[in-house]
Symmetry: C2
Subunit: 338 residues, 2 copies
């Protein structure tokens, strides 16, 4: 930049003004500077700018794994939303492990960016105080672990309720649930289980715990295993609710292997509305949690907080995005959209 200044016969400050498109620059000097810039092939040094500005124009997105379709699709949305606001996204992979999640919150690497959008999975309620960080933070995806942190939640309970009710309306009474009870009590698992339980209770149905297939990780493989365990107990099942779509798809795979027809013998529903479920055979009834809105809202909240330089621990807002049930072939096709 100094070279450019010399070549254009102006000061460094003026070059900076031109580069940053500041208002008070005469057209003449501006074009002279621009000429010098292109002649010298000058490119700005971001590290220097970051140091001077105290900001980096990057935000961190911390998710369990990219290979989980929900997080892949979410990341896409976050990256797009961030780009709209002029931010680039640094991805941290936690594997859903509590250790790694705590590490991300305090790591040095995190400090390279202006803020964090964090989708915790392994964190327990007892870890809530660890979320009182001194940088902009927005939590994603489940119930607030800590009231003072911005948080964009999905309607886990409502969605789970609605989809369970849908199964019951289809005349199913022996509904298996695939996933984890998540005894920690704050995660999506327990909330979705809660919605499921509530719907059953309301219909006067008692859930037989033998129809619960637990799964710590939420993958197709663990969903399949959980489904096998339930079926192997020899208890009748006429519907399966997967706590998310990949679990449901894993379960569906096992039903296929055992020669059970979906939805004739067993209806299947999931949660997340990943694209895969629109093309599975049969296509999967699910809950659309409002992923796009969640991502956009999270980015906006974070960028706002960054812009106004607020301390992160001040008045966190909890925004809940409404879920929408999408009925497809796996429960017998469209009936209603609640």
């Amino acid at each position: 930049m100094r070279d450019v200044a010399r070549r254009a016969g102006v000061s460094v400050k003026t070059v900076s003004n031109v580069v940053n498109d500041f208002p008070h620059v005469s057209t003449a000097t501006k074009s002279r500077v621009l000429a010098a810039i292109s002649e010298l092939g000058y490119r700005m040094n971001f590290s220097a700018r970051n140091l001077s500005l105290g900001r980096t124009g990057m935000i961190t997105l911390a998710v369990p794994e990219m290979r989980l379709p929900y997080f892949a699709e979410l990341s896409d949305e976050v990256i797009v939303a961030a780009a709209e606001r002029g931010y680039t996204v640094l991805v941290e992979r936690t594997g859903g492990l509590r250790e790694r999640e705590l590490e991300v919150l305090t790591s040095d690497r995190r400090r390279m960016t202006d803020g964090l959008i964090f989708s915790p999975l392994g964190l327990r309620p007892a870890d809530a105080h660890r979320l009182e960080v001194d940088y902009p933070l927005v939590l994603l995806g489940e119930r607030s672990l800590h009231g003072s942190v911005h948080h964009v939640a999905m309607g886990n309970v409502a969605g789970a309720r609605a989809v369970t009710e849908h199964l019951l309306e289809r005349g199913r009474r022996r509904v298996a649930v695939i996933g984890s009870y998540d005894a920690r009590g704050a995660g999506a698992g327990s909330l979705r289980t809660q919605g499921f339980t509530e719907a059953l209770a309301e219909a006067g149905i008692e859930h037989d715990p033998r129809r619960t297939g637990e799964a710590i990780e939420w993958t197709r493989a663990t969903g399949a295993e959980a489904m096998r365990r339930v079926l192997d107990r020899g208890i009748g099942v006429d519907a399966v609710y997967g706590l998310n779509d990949v679990l449901a798809l894993g379960a569906m795979r096992v039903l296929f292997e055992r020669g059970l027809r979906v939805p004739e013998d067993v209806a299947v529903a999931g949660f997340d509305d990943i694209e895969e479920g629109r093309f599975s055979c049969p296509s999967l009834t699910t809950v659309q949690p409002g992923r796009t809105e969640i991502a956009r809202t999270a980015v906006w909240l974070l960028v706002d907080r960054i812009a106004r330089g607020e301390p992160a621990v001040a008045g966190g807002r909890e925004l809940v995005v409404g879920p929408q049930i999408i009925t497809r072939e796996s429960t017998g096709g469209a009936v209603e959209s609640a």
Copy 2:
């Protein structure tokens, strides 16, 4: 850091030495400095370090879209491999658009990181010279667009050949191909088409172009559309080769809708070995391109080049990772592993 130095009664330099774990520091002063650091809650400023060092410890990964399972799984692997080498990954989303891809190569944002791992999709051979950049660059996934750039390729032709031969060995003769011919000639599409064509030719079979379903984008939806077009031409089809797995799964969905059984009526195979194909109904025969090895190799090549500060345009190496065919239910189950 100055505060820490003052508090510990040493110089800034000494603090820096401690933080960076330099050898020649006495244990006494070291512990005194560490104490001061924790008392003051000091954290290093990365922007400053980056400015001084001229490196950032970040690399950029440019992919079309995260929601495409292949790239989601690839990203996961790259992130893990980068972490092993102490690097963090910044994700750029190109959408597979040529414009965006060219932009990524020269953008200011790119300059925030030490190097680029780039999976081009829209770039044409004519754009090859645009790859002569002055920073460490590693290309991913297809044939070399430019000889002087490091490049990790998969065995597209060999894999496509093998999987087509597998279909032919199963007695199929009317094989449809779903995807794009990619007339630009350098992309995975044309290479995989080439392998397909070669295998047919070797078996003395002439490919009827009416059995080609083109698709610019490679998604489940475009795969389904392409399959529909082929079937609607009324020409017989006893096998389908999707140029990648999501295309094949989209095609399989259409076969399902039309009441065609897989593999009895129509055998189906894909390319990529995404996890989804292991759990689809039926499970999908495919080509495992060596994703993990590709990601690891790319990261190592890039980090090496960064470490030794070589100009990017010097002697690019092309490494080809061998593909492996994986036979599953969609072609009638395991027969051989080539």
